[in-house]
């Protein structure tokens, strides 16, 4: 259909309604039986202005800023428009008036009443009244002659009369209608209408036809009828251009005729077939507004637009090439071409946007698809181009539409991409501003709700974690519309009013002084459009395209200009992300750009206004950071994207929330993203995009899923898991690079998980005989896992593969060495943790160890372990899945003693020992205690760093206050070799005792412990001694194996005097002097430790008291944990 019928919307309670456009056509005015007059900006206006005029409004009329209504207290009142102030009573009747209407010049008002009377009153002077008596029943409707000579009226007595206004006599009268006794019993309300302008014709709806009477002669000129009209017509209106006549029937049909040709150009059916009682033609556009007796308001657009083509050529074309199209849309071709630029406001609506775009595509398809029938196509194109010209002519003729903007006549020529209206700025996690009860923000810290109803205008702030701050209730006297919430402050902002400037209001509850609030006024004519909070700072973006940064205490800091109007902002830690309009999008797409910057010590921009990738025809709905600080955003199609720092800061879709929705109209409203554990926190909304405030919505958790191919297969699944794991742990690299603390356990877990997945993939590829793929996979593995892979392949008799893997391993080792060498030079870079073999790095004494050194020992120990592991792995490839974690804990994380049991560690790190916890492996009680020691020190170190924050470190879901670690190496080293905290004291005693025991009774355990720790340590005096004396020991006892050699060596070393040992220690230290200065700095503490250790041993028991104050050093700890390790 060329004309578009917008879905109806509820306007009034059921009962008689009336509708008008105002003089300029800028708004629609309706009145209804609820006594309200509503002023609608457009059909989509959700908050029309209401003027209460009485208990019931029967009719209203609008002209020249005066609103006249007929109300139930039998009066005709006047109000100013659009203010709606009462402006006096025009006239009274003894019964209520049924219809009021303005004279064309707006100076007089005619009212017809149920007391059979008609009055014409001067608007300026209500004492000047003329009364028309003669009807024998309630008057139904009235119409002024545009030349101001006559007045036409219809009445329940069945007569339609024309009155002479000057002498109040009845000029003529026809008995046309059915008689009845009251308006409510009338079959039709018979709204007659005089042709505007010349006033040549008077149109009267008579049953199912419209009768037209000629002026002066008063003879029946002709009748207009249509087959679609099956019920009596209620209303008739003329278009302002006099050419068209619209009529509406009691069963909801609207028909438009061209009066000259007497042809019907438009037929429309009310969607619910309610009786239409109000009809109004837009003064400029081809729009008709209509209301029904149920109080709904509807709008019909593009009336008569397709009139010509439809009647003439169009019909012919459609007929000729009917086979090209489905019957329904045979005139869509013309329709879409003459479609006016659907006003930008409608573009918000997705469906409209679709309508806009689809038809041209459809045409193209129709044309292209039928290329077997070229002649037809050419004909079609010619026809349509011919149509265009004719259409233009037609428009020119219709002088009445001369007020149309020129673009609309040119519109048909342009069918390219349509610009999309720019999306408005929004706050992430807020619901629309016009709602009376809304969320101003819902994030991982808390919820801010805003109530704006009659009783209350207030803001409610609630924290998820009540330990952050208690819930607060604020009056909203400034009518704030934007809010953000962090663990230290609440930020609110309001738009400017006539008197007051736009304000930024911050409640810094984290402040330790008494003054917790501050406000800042924006300069004149600058409106705040978006705000956000970071750690220690707040920022707002304004209409002046500025971003203003403040400290959380209210000091103004940086200001910078944005390249375009802001869409939304988000802050986290020291990162600020701003999304803005880069330009105009087309065809429903938005054109957004994003800036990401760090406002910390090192101020820098990470994303320099890069385009933001959005799903087609979608807009942005949420912008923010994951709890770990990775930028993320969500578009209206429910796709969640995350910044992939590992791939040059690209965006990767991590979840499609629409996949989880049950219904078509259901949505998920995102409130937070967590990377560890991987959680997308959102609120399911049934049939809406956002949740209501009541009942209180509950948060649901969605899993992440990268859109990898073939995730149904095992391979695809593991690939997806692997890359997801890599992606969701890349924040660790970022954190460590920027000197933040992070959970090392989680990092190791992740590496383990990833290597595990790689190994599984490797095994799978092996099984599928895809050896090349195996090598590719090996490229992703850490060296130790490559070794495992080599073993695996050689055991499964794939020697070629094993050989190639060997090359990969060598390559890796050399690459590693180069990387490590480069690292030594690059002092500032502390990202040794990023090295693929990060599994080693957690042991304290790893510093500066070069991968070529100690290879001998390393290799031996590892080989022994791996051989075991491989044997296990190979016996049963099927059971591999269960077994692998075990040998990975040995193989990948090598002799990682500190994290044998993650769950255990997690719980013990909090100092709580679970008495009930059933541990899967039977472990000596010593093991957990050793772990407790290690982790407790770690934990306390963290807390000491992060100050008073009592937030649970093992619980990433809460946004962690991130505090930069000390940056210098000395400080770092100090933190590693730092005397362990007093928290270990009680345990220490037992440790000492155990140590003694170990020394006296079981040298063996000690030796193995030594051996274990040796692998990961720089050479000590003992090691150097052992290297020299190994030969001796071997000659003495040729049948000893490696472990026993060390054991023997140990006991011999012990027999040396302390002076001799001192010499060796010195030697060890001296040997290292040749290393780089940096290296030396790092290692000295270790050497010193050895001394300390030795002196401790010598003093032994008698210094127990002093030792208590002396902190347990790292080596003791290591030995202890190694001891525990051995025991298990």
């Amino acid at each position: 259909m060329p004309s578009r019928q917008k879905p109806m919307r509820y306007g009034h309670t059921e009962g008689h309604t009336d509708v008008f456009f105002d003089d300029t056509g800028s708004c629609i005015v309706t009145c209804g039986s609820d006594g309200d007059v509503r002023i609608w900006e457009n059909l989509d206006d959700d908050d029309p202005k209401s003027i209460n005029v009485g208990e019931k409004a029967f009719s209203c009329a609008l002209k020249g800023g005066k609103l006249v209504t007929a109300v139930s207290n039998n009066t005709v009142q006047m109000h100013t428009f659009p203010e709606g102030d009462p402006d006096g009573i025009l006239t009274r009747f003894t019964a209520h008036a049924n219809h009021v209407t303005f004279s064309p010049d707006g100076t007089r008002v005619a009212a017809g009443s149920s007391d059979f009377m008609i009055k014409v009153v001067e608007v300026t002077d209500s004492s000047k009244q003329k009364t028309f008596r003669g009807h024998d029943a309630p008057v139904l409707s009235l119409s002024f002659d545009p030349k101001d000579v006559y007045l036409a009226s219809a009445s329940c007595d069945g007569s339609v009369r024309v009155w002479n206004l000057a002498d109040q006599t009845c000029t003529t009268s026809w008995l046309l209608l059915q008689k009845c006794n009251d308006v409510i019993n009338a079959k039709s309300i018979c709204r007659l209408a005089w042709q505007p302008g010349t006033g040549k014709l008077l149109a009267v709806p008579v049953d199912k036809v419209v009768e037209l009477f000629r002026r002066e002669t008063w003879d029946n000129q002709f009748k207009l009828s249509d087959a679609s009209i099956t019920q009596p017509l209620n209303v008739v209106v003329w278009s302002p251009c006099e050419q068209f006549l619209a009529a509406a029937s009691v069963d909801g049909n609207i028909v438009v005729w061209n009066v000259e040709t007497q042809q019907c150009i438009e037929r429309m059916k009310h969607e619910k077939k309610y009786s239409i009682c109000g009809l109004a033609w837009h003064p400029k556009h081809r729009q008709i507004a209509y209301t029904d007796t149920e109080g709904n308001l509807g709008l019909l657009e593009n009336i008569g637009a397709a009139e010509k083509p439809n009647d003439k050529v169009g019909a012919a074309v459609a007929k000729d090439y009917n086979d090209l199209f489905d019957g329904d849309d045979d005139d869509y071709l013309n329709g879409d071409m003459v479609e006016p630029p659907s006003s930008p406001k409608t573009g918000d609506n997705e469906d409209d946007a679709d309508d806009l775009v689809q038809p041209p595509g459809h045409v193209r398809r129709a044309v292209i698809d039928d290329d077997d029938d070229n002649s037809l196509d050419i004909g079609l194109i010619k026809a349509s181009s011919g149509l265009l010209e004719k259409e233009d002519d037609g428009d020119d003729q219709t002088g009445g539409f001369s007020a149309l903007p020129p673009s609309s006549t040119q519109q048909p020529l342009y069918d390219g991409p349509m610009p999309t209206p720019k999306q408005k700025p929004f706050q992430s996690g807020s619901t629309p501003v016009h709602l009376m009860h809304r969320f101003m923000v819902w994030n991982s810290v808390g919820i801010i709700r805003c109530y704006n109803d009659e009783q209350d205008n207030a803001i409610d702030i609630e924290f998820h974690d009540t330990s952050v701050h208690h819930a607060t209730h604020l009056p909203n006297s400034l009518s704030h519309t934007m809010a953000d919430l962090s663990t230290e402050a609440i930020l609110l902002a309001c738009e400017s009013t006539e008197e007051l400037a736009s304000k930024l209001h911050c409640i810094h509850f984290g402040s330790w002084d008494a003054n917790k609030e501050w406000t800042v006024d924006m300069p004149k004519d600058e409106e705040i459009e978006a705000i956000c909070l970071g750690q220690g700072w707040a920022a707002c973006a304004t209409t002046a395209l500025l971003v203003r940064v403040f400290t959380v205490g209210g000091v103004q800091k940086e200001i910078f200009s944005l390249p375009g109007p802001v869409v939304s902002m988000a802050g986290h830690g020291e990162q600020l992300m701003v999304v803005y309009h880069r330009g105009t999008g087309f065809d429903g797409d938005q054109c957004l750009g994003v800036q990401l910057m760090e406002l910390g010590m090192k101020k820098r921009q990470i994303l320099h206004g890069d385009p933001l990738s959005l799903t087609r025809k979608s807009y942005l709905v949420w912008v923010g950071f994951s709890a770990e600080g990775t930028p993320c955003y969500v578009d209206s199609e429910g796709i969640v994207r995350m910044l992939n720092r590992g791939l040059g800061n690209t965006w990767i879709p991590v979840c499609n929330t629409r996949e989880h929705c049950k219904g078509k109209y259901d949505h998920y409203w995102v409130v937070g993203i967590h990377e560890n554990p991987q959680q997308l926190r959102c609120i399911p909304c049934k049939g809406a995009r956002f949740p209501p405030t009541l009942p209180r919505p509950a948060v649901a958790i969605l899993p992440f899923k990268l859109p990898y191919c073939q995730v149904a297969t095992e391979k695809g699944q593991m690939e997806e898991q692997y890359w997801r794991s890599v992606l969701f742990h890349s924040h660790v690299d970022y954190l460590s690079k920027n000197g933040y603390e992070f959970d090392e356990n989680a990092k190791n877990q992740a590496v383990k998980e990833q290597q595990e997945l790689l190994m599984k993939l490797f095994a799978l590829s092996c099984k599928l005989e895809r050896e090349f793929r195996c090598v590719e996979l090996a490229d992703l593995m850490t060296p130790s896992v490559v070794n495992l892979a080599i073993k695996y392949s050689s055991r499964s008799r794939r020697l070629n593969l094993a050989q190639r893997l060997g090359e990969v391993a060598v390559e890796k080792a050399s690459g590693l060495a180069a990387a490590a060498a480069a690292q030594e030079d690059e002092e500032e870079e502390e990202d040794f943790r990023q090295r693929p073999n990060a599994g080693y790095s957690s042991s304290a004494t790893n510093w500066g160890q070069l991968p070529g050194r100690n290879v001998q020992q390393d290799q031996e120990v590892e080989d022994a372990e791996e051989a075991d592991a491989c044997e296990e792995a190979e016996e049963t490839p099927e059971v591999q899945q269960e077994k692998e974690p075990n040998h990975f804990s040995k193989g990948v994380a090598s002799a990682e003693v500190t994290t044998p049991k993650p769950a255990l560690v997690a719980s013990s790190s909090r100092g709580r020992v679970n008495p009930f916890k059933v541990s899967s492996s039977k472990k000596d009680p010593v093991v957990p205690s050793a772990n407790i020691l290690d982790n407790m020190t770690k934990y306390s170190k963290k807390t000491s760093l992060s100050g008073s924050r009592a937030v649970n470190k093992q619980n990433p879901p809460v946004i962690k206050p991130l505090t930069p670690k000390p940056k210098t190496k000395q400080a770092l080293a100090a933190s590693f070799f730092q005397p362990r905290t007093p928290a270990t004291n009680p345990a220490e005693k037992t440790v000492e005792e155990r140590e003694e025991k170990a020394e006296n009774e079981s040298q063996e355990t000690k030796v193995t412990a030594q051996e274990n720790t040796e692998n990961r340590r720089p050479k000590t005096g003992f090691q150097m001694w052992l290297e020299e004396n190994r030969a001796n020991i071997l000659t003495d006892n040729p049948d000893l194996n490696e472990a026993e050699v060390i054991k023997e060596g140990m006991s011999r070393f012990r027999m040396l005097t302390s002076e001799e040992r001192m010499v060796w220690t010195e030697k060890a230290r001296g040997g290292r002097v040749s290393d780089s200065a940096e290296d030396k700095k790092r290692k000295r503490p270790t050497a010193e430790e050895d001394e300390v250790k030795k002196s401790q041993e010598q003093k032994s028991e008698d210094t127990n008291v002093s030792k208590k104050s002396k902190p347990l050093d790292a080596s003791t700890n290591n030995r202890l944990s190694a001891f525990a390790f051995k025991q298990s």
Binding site: T466, R910, V958
Partner: protein, 185 residues
């Protein structure tokens, strides 16, 4: 069994709460609970939920069936049918009582829910009494009662079985010849 004991059993049922504190997984004999993240719903046993609620450490999310619409349906169904209809939870009465007593501010239309559950309960108790009555009257030896909850069985069970015992004694005493036998009981 005492009603208190039944209530104790009911306290093992899981309900969803939204904690406002942060706590790692806690390990108990009955199983692990948590982890508790502020603002994130978590399932815990009723006893813990009530404890936390009393300390204002959480917000309770009522069970799905604790909804006026659903309960009305259940009540109407219960009234319509002669036999017992299945209940939404084997501890519906106890849970309603516990949750409404301690967390009525988190349950919308708490009073209506209380009334509806009580109505359902009354209907079921009436049915139970009626069937017990006909059971005794017709001197049946066995009967089948489906969909009864523990609490309901307990309200009638003890009394009914004892009463049947007594009646059996009385009946056997009516027949003089067998009186000596009945003494053995």
């Amino acid at each position: 069994m005492e009603p208190a004991e039944v209530e104790f059993l009911a306290e093992k049922e899981l309900v969803t709460i939204v904690p406002n504190f942060s706590l790692d997984r806690i390990h108990l004999i009955g199983g692990d609970l948590g982890p508790f993240n502020p603002g994130l719903p978590v399932e815990v046993p009723v006893w813990l939920a009530i404890n936390l609620k009393q300390r204002q450490k959480c917000r309770l999310i009522p069970p799905e069936w604790m909804d006026v619409g659903k309960l009305e349906e259940i009540r109407d169904q219960e009234r319509k049918e002669d036999t017992f209809t299945p209940m939404p939870s084997p501890y519906y009465m106890e849970l309603t009582k516990l949750l409404l007593n301690y967390a009525s501010d988190n349950i919308p239309r708490a009073d209506e829910i209380r009334t509806l559950v009580k109505d359902t309960w009354d209907t079921r108790m009436a049915k139970l009494r009626l069937s017990a009555d006909s059971f005794v009257r017709q001197q049946e030896v066995h009967a089948k009662l489906d969909n009864l909850t523990l609490m309901e069985i307990n309200t009638a069970g003890t009394f009914l079985t004892q009463a049947l015992d007594h009646m059996y004694k009385l009946r056997t005493n009516l027949q003089p010849g067998e009186s000596s036998h009945s003494q053995d009981f």
